[in-house]
Amino acid sequence: MADMYSGLNGATSLTAPAGTGTGQGRIPTVIADHAHVTYRIHRGASPGGGPAASLRRLVKRTSSPNVREIHAVKGVTFTAYRGEAIGLIGTNGSGKSTLLRAIAGLLPVDRGAIYTQGQPSLLGVNAALLKDLSGERNVALGCLAMGMHPDEVQRLTPEIIEFSGINRRGDFASLPMRTYSSGMSARLRFSIAAAKRHDVLLIDEALATGDKPFRKRSQRRVKELRDGAGTVFLVSHQLSSIRETCERTIWLESGVIKMDGPTDQVLPAYEDFVNQ
């Protein structure tokens, strides 16, 4: 399987939903050009440490084992056009979320480049907000961080809280977020992020949060957003939601594009790979 598609690494997909072939006359919204993305993580205390070992590292100028560089995306090239919905699949740790963050401009590109039309928005569930503040204050803060005007924030706050459904069981909106269950805070974060209009929309696993009614509501919302947006990227482990939403799929494995093409061709290949 790997051999069959290895020639596609770094390939430019010119696949259109209708198979327009050459891609002439279509307007690109996201262009990745041999993009490499690295980020650093700091691990906690590691065994085999101690002051002496740290000093030796310093003298020998080897890098600290506490800091590890993750080369998550290794030379990815593709072009996304207006009106496309693109699914991003791959096993855990294949670099999907990192690629989305790089497209959104939240993580810097090391080598190569990513060009985008306007400012893409990443719709994630992990927007870190202030845990000690009430849900309501967090909604206001999150909206302001997305660049909304205070009047708009005031108008939207009740809608966002209603959408998240956190008030279904008592007045949770006025309680600090640290008292929320993980599902509740994920729902609230998604609702905040989804409150804004977007040109290029990047959705990271967001559809999987919450209970069934919320999933229905959020799927509807994403459809609305997609109708307004030029291009939608969707990361998900639920292949069914990719099949429903996306006509094109990019399969990322260990930071490299393994396959890029129509969803009905990529998904079966991926399923074969996973089930091996």
Binding site: G10, A11, P28, D33, Y39, T77, L141, L144, M146
Partner: protein, 298 residues
């Protein structure tokens, strides 16, 4: 696979050409300084809301709540008065030691609080930075505002202390407003400077408490500034008189106290104060802006 064309090595240039043809911009590119400043201004509501939220949330788990905003400077002053005023008798040469000590201490806490918060303002907010798009300078600036709010409370406490200790209430007290404003600009620059340095090297967080303590001893917070002239060689005392914190603290004492020993004349102090605020404020901002692209990396 029929729809997929394999592009060769030349695809690098064609991708860039395609981007240029349709006017696509590089993702996460650093905006120009003017654009950046404008965007930052449009995010002022976020900066204010975030800093106020941090003031409330920092006390939210204590029983006394925001009373700590008043209690923290009071306790701080009490401890230092006990050691330096009563036990070590450092009050020699200062007529009214309590307001002298408290003015220095409270103004210094404003800077040290901003500096310490600034060092971690990028690293402790990585989640927010990686999730949302906003000018990153909002974070160090919000931390400065948080400290400014604490400092304003501390100034009310200070006013009470100074009055109780027998200093008269004069028109000169109004000078504390421009002094605080200058110090706030200086602190904002310092916070942005340390935010970028702290984002690059996480070890800075461990060093900062010592730096701030050394800075405190060099700023004549705990003892009369006459001691510098008396015990240090001339050139060292000269250099110390340029110390921005010493300048702001002396200005504070000049405004609140009848007769405080000053190391320089008030005119020199005002010039130095304005100069430092401009240099640090603008310099820190430009330095921070230059790193705007890197902050998401961690």
């Amino acid at each position: 696979m029929a729809h997929t064309t394999v592009a060769g090595a030349e695809s690098g240039s064609t991708q860039a050409q395609l981007a240029a043809r349709y006017g696509l911009g590089a993702a996460g590119a650093r905006p120009s300084l003017a654009t950046y400043t404008r965007t930052l201004w449009s995010y002022r509501h976020f900066i204010l809301a975030y800093s106020t939220a941090r003031v409330t949330s920092s006390f939210s788990k204590t029983q006394l709540g925001q009373l700590w905003q008043v209690l923290t400077p009071l306790t701080n002053a009490a401890v230092y008065y006990l050691i330096f005023g009563l036990i070590l008798q450092q009050s020699r040469g200062v007529e009214n030691f309590i307001p002298y000590l408290c003015t220095g201490l409270f103004l210094f806490s404003f800077t040290s609080g901003s500096a310490l918060a600034g060092t971690t303002s990028i690293t402790s907010n990585l989640g927010l930075i990686r999730a949302m798009h906003f000018p990153r300078a909002s974070l160090p600036l919000a931390h400065t505002f948080t400290q400014l709010q604490n400092a304003l409370t501390a100034m009310v406490v200070l006013g009470a202390i100074v009055l109780i200790s027998g200093e008269p209430l004069t028109l000169k007290w109004l000078l504390i407003v421009p002094i605080l404003a200058l110090l706030a600009v200086f602190n904002a620059g310092l916070t942005m400077l340390l935010a970028r340095l702290g984002a690059r090297s996480t070890d800075l967080k461990q060093v900062m408490p010592f730096v701030m303590r050394a800075w405190m001893y060099a700023s004549g917070v705990l003892y009369s500034v006459d001691l510098f002239r008396a015990h240090l060689p001339g050139w060292a005392a000269q250099i110390l008189e340029f110390n921005p914190l010493l300048v702001y603290i002396e200005l504070g004492r000049y405004s609140l106290m009848e007769s405080a020993p000053l190391a320089s004349s008030p005119v020199e102090l005002w010039l130095l104060g304005v100069g430092w605020a401009l240099v640090m404020g603008i310099g820190g901002f430009i330095f921070f802006w230059r790193g705007e692209k890197e902050y998401g990396r961690g």
